[in-house]
């Protein structure tokens, strides 16, 4: 338990590593160091999933790929730090901490801004980009696995648990949500220079497209949770309004609690049978004002997944009334209203984490007498169209630089990201270019690294790619 929990906490709470999809998903190990600024300034396989037009940002007749699957995990909360966790769940001399009223108030206050828990695992199993030339174009292929979870614990939950059902207080659960899934993308990309378009304004215009076959292996998502409870002197009243849908691959062996006859067993393999299938498209354009200034826009993950296997929904609606806890019918009804009654459904669809991206980048050389070596400054605006895992309808802006002062110094990268569910991140990264191999390390939460035990989030990314 101890080891497991340590690993869990180390994984879920502080680390963000790799989730290259959606508007808020973390970028590759190069662009993460720039505050996840990647729309106008990304290259080769790092462009896949962000802006396919940028796959063309490579030398003619070059080939780059990853041989080791890039595995990243992301997880975190926006409400509790390691120190706080340690205080409340570390015990006192091996005994449970007895919470004082102040302790309870402080713990409840941690949830003032929402009890968000997120976790992502992204595995780039295989990817390559081969660029022939700007005219002929660049071809790319990738197989990516994305497991993501966005969970919001409603403020009312810790308040109810710690302070009880205070009289005449409305306990709202409408800030609760959960979205979690596991998708596998098979994407085929193509980009090339577009001639004769904007040639008077831009020195070069490139465009790219990625066509994606999407297999979904599980999905659990809340469509709506508007349940609330109120306690008066003599009764607990409220309203239930809940709809949660789910689908699971046969190989997961999910047995729903409402199906007593179900006896499925888990049999996971490398290629589990999908519970849902869909298609997606990434579209991107990069326009080069000159060799040093570029603007990019992209629409990524246009499409949806149709979930058809082991699909179920848990739903409840209606008034809640408890005025007699000895009334088993009332208690059973409350349980059903809170958790919803489950049943099989024919199927449903969910959108992919569709996002609009805009980016701009400017490059400074030593010739500019601005700074020694070469420096690239980039700006991003990412706007998700839904709240699927890795995505957010809250806009995210980021600004990052990539600086190579002299040859023997690695690339130095830093940046800030503002907006999205994380609100603020300060990123720092290093890059080592060894001709045929490129190694990048980064964190997008430098402020957390400075004081790990006070951190709500810590991220780290490490990636390699080979290029010929």
């Amino acid at each position: 338990m101890n080891k497991f929990f340590k690993i869990l906490v180390a994984t879920i709470i502080p680390f963000f590593t790799y989730a290259q999809y959606g508007s808020t998903g973390l970028s590759n190990s190069m662009n993460m160091g720039m505050g996840n600024t990647h729309n106008a300034y990304s290259f080769g396989i790092y462009s896949l999933g962000v802006n396919p037009a940028n796959t063309l940002n490579a030398d003619d007749n070059s080939f780059e790929f990853n041989v080791i699957p890039l595995i990243g995990t992301r997880g975190g909360t926006n409400f509790i730090s390691v120190n706080e966790f340690n205080y409340y769940f570390g015990g006192v001399d091996g005994e449970a901490r007895k919470l004082t009223q102040d302790d309870k108030d402080n713990l409840i206050n941690l949830f003032n801004n929402g009890g968000r828990v997120s976790a992502d695992v992204n595995v780039q199993n295989l990817s390559f980009v081969y660029k022939v030339s700007d005219k002929i174009g660049a071809f790319g292929f990738a197989i990516d696995d994305a497991m993501g979870m966005n969970l919001q614990l409603p403020y009312s939950v810790p308040e109810l648990l710690l302070s009880g059902n205070i009289l005449n207080r409305n306990f709202l659960f409408n800030d609760a949500f959960i979205k979690t899934w596991w998708l596998r993308y098979y994407s085929l990309s193509y980009a090339r220079e577009i001639e004769n378009i904007g040639s008077k304004l831009f020195s070069k215009v490139t465009a790219g497209i990625s066509l994606k076959l999407v297999n979904g292996f599980y999905y659990v998502g809340s469509e709506r949770i508007n349940t609330y409870l109120n306690t008066s002197n003599t009764e607990i009243t409220g309203n239930a309004d809940l709809l949660i849908r789910s689908a699971f691959s046969e190989n997961i062996g999910m047995n729903y609690d409402f199906d007593s006859l179900s006896n499925k067993k888990s049999s996971m393999g490398v290629f589990p049978s999908p519970a849902g299938k869909g298609y997606g498209v990434d579209l991107g354009i990069s326009t080069f004002l000159n060799d040093n200034i570029v603007f990019s826009i992209a629409l990524t993950d246009l499409g949806s997944v149709n979930w058809t296997r082991n699909t179920a929904e848990y739903s409840s609606q209606g008034k809640i009334l408890i005025d007699d806890i000895t009334n088993e019918q009332q208690i059973d009804t409350l349980k059903n209203k809170i958790t919803g009654e489950g049943k099989y459904i024919n199927g449903f669809s969910t959108p992919l984490p569709t996002a609009f991206r805009f980016g701009a980048a400017i490059k400074f050389n030593s010739d500019d007498d601005f700074i020694p070596g070469q420096l690239v400054a980039a700006f991003d605006y990412n706007q998700g169209f839904n709240d699927m895992p890795g995505n957010s309808i809250k806009p995210r802006f980021s600004l990052g630089i990539d600086w190579k002062p002299v040859d023997w110094v690695p690339y130095i990268r830093t940046g800030v990201s503002i907006g999205g569910p994380d609100k603020f991140n300060w990123a720092l990264g290093l890059g080592f270019n060894m001709n045929i191999a490129e190694i990048n390390i980064a964190t997008s939460d430098m402020q957390s690294l400075a004081s790990l035990n006070d951190a709500h989030r810590v991220s780290f990314s490490f990636g390699t790619k080979f290029k010929f």
């Binding site: 338990m1 101890n2 929990f5 340590k6 906490v9 180390a10 502080p14 390691v82 120190n83 966790f85 340690n86 409340y88 769940f89 570390g90 015990g91 091996g94 005994e95 449970a96 901490r97 007895k98 919470l99 302790d103 309870k104 648990l161 710690l162 302070s163 009880g164 059902n165 205070i166 009289l167 306690t231 002197n233 003599t234 009764e235 607990i236 408890i322 005025d323 007699d324 806890i325 000895t326 009334n327 080592f432 060894m434 190694i439 390390i441 690294l449 790990l452 035990n453 810590v458 780290f460 490490f462």
Partner: protein, 523 residues
């Protein structure tokens, strides 16, 4: 460079992990939380509280309960009186051995009925024949009135010289009807069985020699008798029934005052054949016994001997508080009731037919309505406290509880309740119903209309029970609850107490809610 990078990466991960001060063991904290719980909100009508009872019904018009006794029955078969285990004989009959004939008449006496016809269910005829001659004799006797399947009863035998024999015949299945030729005889012979006998010999007997025979009939019963009936005492019957003997009723003895009561005496007489005579149950005694005490049901004249004339079919006589002392009788709540009565056929040479399935049945049915007064009556009960082991552990985590009760009482009686929690060996743990230094809680009666005794409005009773941590821990060890209740209607101590109407629709509403301070500890 690669080694440097690898070293850097391992260093960085070690640094991050080392700097994280994660707990060695995750130990969930514990805390106390106030839970506001609506414990109970129940509305019960009296009908729901009492539930279905065998002897309880509700008058749909008045909504009053009607309490009825079991139906006590006493039955008597009419044919019991026309029977005989006596022996009737015709002695010293003789005739010549050679071609002799002799008619014998056996007197069949019945003071009550002149039988025209009958069917035997039992009976014996016996002839003792003595051949007092020197020749062999054939003897034959037959009864023209006693027939089975169209054939008269025949008894016959051959007798050696100077020999005798007993001939015996069971009359079961034979029927009797006076033969037409017997009706030609004087009426004296009509009430007698006619036995004809003949003899013949194989040789010439000595002159003066005789065949002698005696005829007797005994132990006869009938399955059907037709004839002319006179007034007949069928018999007297006495039957005892358990009445208000149960422990539940025991508490109310000497404390109950009824407004009204009723006794239905019902007779059922459905003879197979229509008869012209009537029946009577004479000198009926209905007596209630409680220990050494007795009470008789008396009519309005004070007589304890009641008479009932029974007509064909079903007839009912009502005794109520106006024509009898039935109210006092039922208020007495006897342990047992004895019914004693004499059954008669009232005929005056009246034609009729009685079969063995004809009977007269006499039923009593006591009833009263729920308009009454109750003096202080103690009711005790022990109830199971159904809490499983996990729930007992959970209860132990309670720190204190303050439960508020709001009771609206639309029942027309005061109730004082005391509840003592008991452990598994029935040892008292603590008194649950302690309030203001008292160990019981009183619910006052509803407001009563003085004229009708009906509830006008409910009474409102509010109180709270506070349990400290020790008491909550004791509660977790409770397996039984001893309930003592004292119930009493308003003014029940008066000599003539006012009567209240207890209706099925009377109700009690109980709401309990409160605060429980609970220690949460998640292992």
């Amino acid at each position: 460079m690669k080694k440097f990078l690898l070293f850097f990466l391992i260093f960085l991960l070690s640094f991050i992990y080392g700097c994280l001060n994660l707990p060695d063991d995750v130990i969930m904290p514990e805390w106390n939380v106030d839970l506001n719980i609506p414990v109970i909100n129940k509305y019960y009508t009296l009908d729901e509280i009492i539930g279905k009872q065998n002897n309880l019904s509700v008058d749909p018009t008045t909504n009053l309960f009607i309490v009825t006794s079991d139906t006590f029955k006493q039955a008597s078969n009419l044919l019991d009186f026309i029977k005989s285990d006596q022996e009737f004989t015709s002695l010293d009959n003789n005739m010549s051995p050679e071609n002799g004939t002799r008619d014998a008449f056996i007197e069949f006496r019945s003071d009550n009925v002149e039988i025209d016809s009958a069917v035997f269910s039992k009976g014996y005829i016996q002839i003792n024949v003595q051949n007092n001659s020197s020749v062999s004799v054939y003897f034959k006797a037959y009864a023209p009135g006693i027939v089975k399947d169209g054939t008269p009863l025949i008894l016959e035998t051959n007798l050696e010289p100077h020999k005798g024999i007993n001939i015996y015949k069971d009359l079961n299945g034979y029927s009797y009807k006076i033969p037409p030729e017997q009706l030609a005889l004087p009426p004296f012979f009509w009430k007698q069985f006619w036995i004809k006998s003949i003899s013949s010999s194989t040789g010439q007997p000595v002159s003066g020699e005789k065949v002698n025979f005696d005829v007797s009939i005994s132990d006869f019963y009938f399955s059907k008798v037709s004839g002319k009936f006179s007034e007949t005492q069928i018999g007297r019957k006495r039957t005892s029934f358990a009445f208000a003997k149960s422990s539940e009723i025991e508490s109310y003895k000497d404390k109950l005052f009824l407004k009204e009561a009723n006794l239905k005496l019902k007779t059922i007489y459905n003879p197979f054949y229509n008869n012209q005579f009537s029946l009577k149950i004479d000198s009926i005694n209905i007596m209630g016994i409680k220990g050494n005490q007795r009470i008789y049901l008396r009519d309005s004249l004070g007589s304890q001997l009641l008479n009932l004339f029974v007509q064909e079919g079903s007839n009912t006589i009502d005794f109520n508080e106006n024509n009898s002392n039935i109210k006092d009788f039922l208020t007495f709540l006897p342990d047992s009731i004895i019914i004693d009565g004499s059954y008669k056929i009232l005929g005056q040479n009246t034609n009729g037919t009685v079969t063995n399935i004809d009977q007269i049945e006499f039923q009593t049915l006591f009833s009263t309505k729920s308009q009454l007064a109750i003096r202080k009556t103690n009711i005790t009960d022990t109830m199971n406290v159904n809490i499983d082991a996990n729930q007992r552990q959970d209860i132990q985590r309670g720190k204190y509880a303050k439960l508020n009760f709001e009771v609206e009482n639309a029942l027309p009686f005061n109730v004082i309740v005391k509840v003592i929690m008991l452990d598994s060996l029935f040892n008292p743990l603590f008194t649950l119903t302690k309030l203001n230094g008292q160990d019981s809680i009183e619910f006052s009666s509803s407001v009563i209309d003085q004229n009708t005794g009906e509830t006008i409005s409910p009474s409102s009773n509010k109180f709270f029970i506070y349990l400290n941590e020790d008491e909550i821990k004791l509660f977790s060890k409770a397996y039984y609850a001893s309930l003592s209740a004292v119930i009493e209607t308003e003014g029940a101590n008066q000599i003539i107490p006012p009567v209240v109407s207890i209706k099925a629709s009377d109700w009690i509403k109980m709401k309990a809610y409160g605060l429980i301070n609970y220690n949460v500890k998640i292992d």
